[in-house]
Symmetry: C2
Amino acid sequence: MAEEAAVRAQADTVRRLKQDKADPDEIAKEVAKLLEMKAQLGEDEGKHKFVLKTPKGTRDYGPKQMAIRERAFNAIISCFKRHGAEVIDTPVFELKETLTGKYGEDSKLIYDLKDQGGELLSLRYDLTVPFARYLAMNKITNIKRYHIAKVYRRDNPAMTRGRYREFYQCDFDIAGQFDPMIPDAECLKIVHEILSDLQLGDFLIKVNDRRILNGVFAVCGVPESKFIPACSTVDKLDKVPWEEVRSEMVGEKGLSPEAADRIGEYVQLHGGLELIERLLQDPKLSQNKLAKEGLGDMKLLFEYLTLFGITGKISFDLSLARGLDYYTGVIFEAVLLQQENEHVEEPVSVGSVAGGGRYDGLVGMFDPKGRKVPCVGVSIGIERIFSILEQRLEASGEKLRTTETQVLVATPQKNLLPARLKLISELWDAGIKAEMLYKKDPKLLKQLQYCEDTGIPLAAIVGEQELADGVVKLRDVATREEVRM
Amino acid sequence: MAEEAAVRAQADTVRRLKQDKADPDEIAKEVAKLLEMKAQLGEDEGKHKFVLKTPKGTRDYGPKQMAIRERAFNAIISCFKRHGAEVIDTPVFELKETLTGKYGEDSKLIYDLKDQGGELLSLRYDLTVPFARYLAMNKITNIKRYHIAKVYRRDNPAMTRGRYREFYQCDFDIAGQFDPMIPDAECLKIVHEILSDLQLGDFLIKVNDRRILNGVFAVCGVPESKFIPACSTVDKLDKVPWEEVRSEMVGEKGLSPEAADRIGEYVQLHGGLELIERLLQDPKLSQNKLAKEGLGDMKLLFEYLTLFGITGKISFDLSLARGLDYYTGVIFEAVLLQQENEHVEEPVSVGSVAGGGRYDGLVGMFDPKGRKVPCVGVSIGIERIFSILEQRLEASGEKLRTTETQVLVATPQKNLLPARLKLISELWDAGIKAEMLYKKDPKLLKQLQYCEDTGIPLAAIVGEQELADGVVKLRDVATREEVRM
């Protein structure tokens, strides 16, 4: 196997460095790399024929993680349903050509299926392109839907930071020709509701518009062919200072220093309605048709957000650019403002927890006649949210139940299995969540211990006396109170 | 493309048959085939660059199908939770070697991913093997879990009969060393509860035991090497008469006619406790260790099922064999006894709707030291259940809602968008499921029509008068009753 050969090569490297008495830091680095490679190979599992692991960048969800996941999903689904969304599902793979030409450079991260005869298939990379394909294929011009499903990217996973090759997306989109900014405002309201509901701490939703950004580039003297590269450079402003962004613009992207400086004056701005008003009066920007349109809509958006009462957490931020090419209007991204649980040793670096925007051209790429269906949508970054919730739960020491069992059916003496089976069957048929131990004659103590371990609040005890009296003893596991019924 | 060439060839066939004035039935058959092939290719979508379709054997679920799906899932999940199950999830793909050697001949149906550098991966074929891998990898010896997820088989899809290449499985399994037949009985109880709850019509759960079947083969003089082929032949008895099964045994599988006849006497038997008792007295079978063990456990199982009160729908059926190799004890399969909706033109052929059994050796195949974890589980054939529910809904003419919206916020005059936005925001914040039209000035009639189309029961109307009075008019869409509040 190629990976085993790579491990051996790495082991050789380490050996050589040690022989050469190389810099200890360097040795440590290469040893760490070797251990990582070995762990990936699962060699630490012992000597057996095959590697017992999940594929790189993926994980199992155990019962505890699933309980957390369900909590988060419930909050998100409730919100989507509260806003009247329908739900759809699409296959995990699409025809390869459906995904072709939609993701630019990132296309190399798409998982292809092996050609086993028949169609060429790829795993979906996001839920947006399958949604657009679904709309075009079924000639749907008007829908509000959500879709929660796994997507696949052959990225370099950083699993400790909640980044995987297989991960969930929770998407809500509104498709259709509507009056401006009403659906867009609803998407922002949804982000606000979900992040508030999940209690992830303080957050900020940055908003911008591709038309404003393109207008800025135009009035700063950037040729149209360089709008997209300029855009992706601006997008880095949340991670690196302006000076670095500027030098990338001038160096790598070939903008003139003057253009870069002029851009810098704009993209470092952020604010609210007053900033929009100021830019609408800006002598240069107000002359640009695109920018003016974008600013006018942004103003309208802020009016609606004011009516929703959520402008306190919204920032019109000219540095927001978003990676994907297909956005055509409003774009937005929600970030958590501070680390929760600062006492935890390794804080989860979370970054953005939701994002989205308007993409009016994507469906038209699939329609045979190029008919457009305007769309705006939001995607919740659920994996990062899981990481935070998981870490917080661990820090709190709270014991999360992984079942919903209400009562354990128990017996205090031997030879009472028939009584337990009869009673539990009646409970199940009455819709009561009940368990029993799969033993003929379990000790009462073991049965009560099981309740404590798994958080079952009640034990229904049938002993010889109870059977004779035709009653059941109901015991509160925590208080040890008992009633006969 | 190979598939386009096939369509052209088929078109030629049709043309030739017509020229030859062939049998009209034959022509009709070939035309139907051509249309089917064209539909697969999506050629009816018109002339455009690419084919607008989902991959072969897959489908989108629209809002209506999702609503049906949710109903069925809710019934199933409620039952699993009622029995105290935890839930897990595993990646959609596994290392290829994890699946190798688990499915016998069916391995050719596994979807492989393309080798893009790194690990060799395959899409999961079922949820049982990933479950066993999960147990071995995490050294879990004791768990009761359910898992609902899609699995993938490159089978020839018969989509009208609810058979797909991508389809859901709903699995419930109990792993651990327990007293005999208690978990097995619970699995049967679960099948009984779910099928009753879904009201799919009358059903029968056939039960057998691999040990009894192997005992039968042994006492009938079948060499051990032919147990598995004999088993797969017996499995066909629910579809073809004994004579055909017998001739396959003698012809293809090479059993002696005498052995086949002796097998025939056993495998055509079915019944309940009295049959078990009779076979326990059978002079030949009672001498076989395996069969005796299996029959003893079957008797115990029936005792437990009697306590559960469900033996009325259980049949001990010696012809039940189940396809998969990994079963080691009790096996079972639930079938619907009669077609629902017999007036529907094309009745859905449903076959088995649930199945499962005991597989005590599978986890050991993954454990480096071969440690076994006994398991028993059940898989609900949810796709077939969807087909039935879908067809029934269509036949009933019932209008299924695809959203849960409780109230539409509406305005009767122009320029009241701010009032609508303010009110709907308050409703959302109060947890009320509310929608509004994404128009600045929609007509009241249009708004009420939307309620009727989508089944929204209430309209909250704010007009100029209501605004002045500080009230909202709540209108019952069906009765047209109005109250001011």
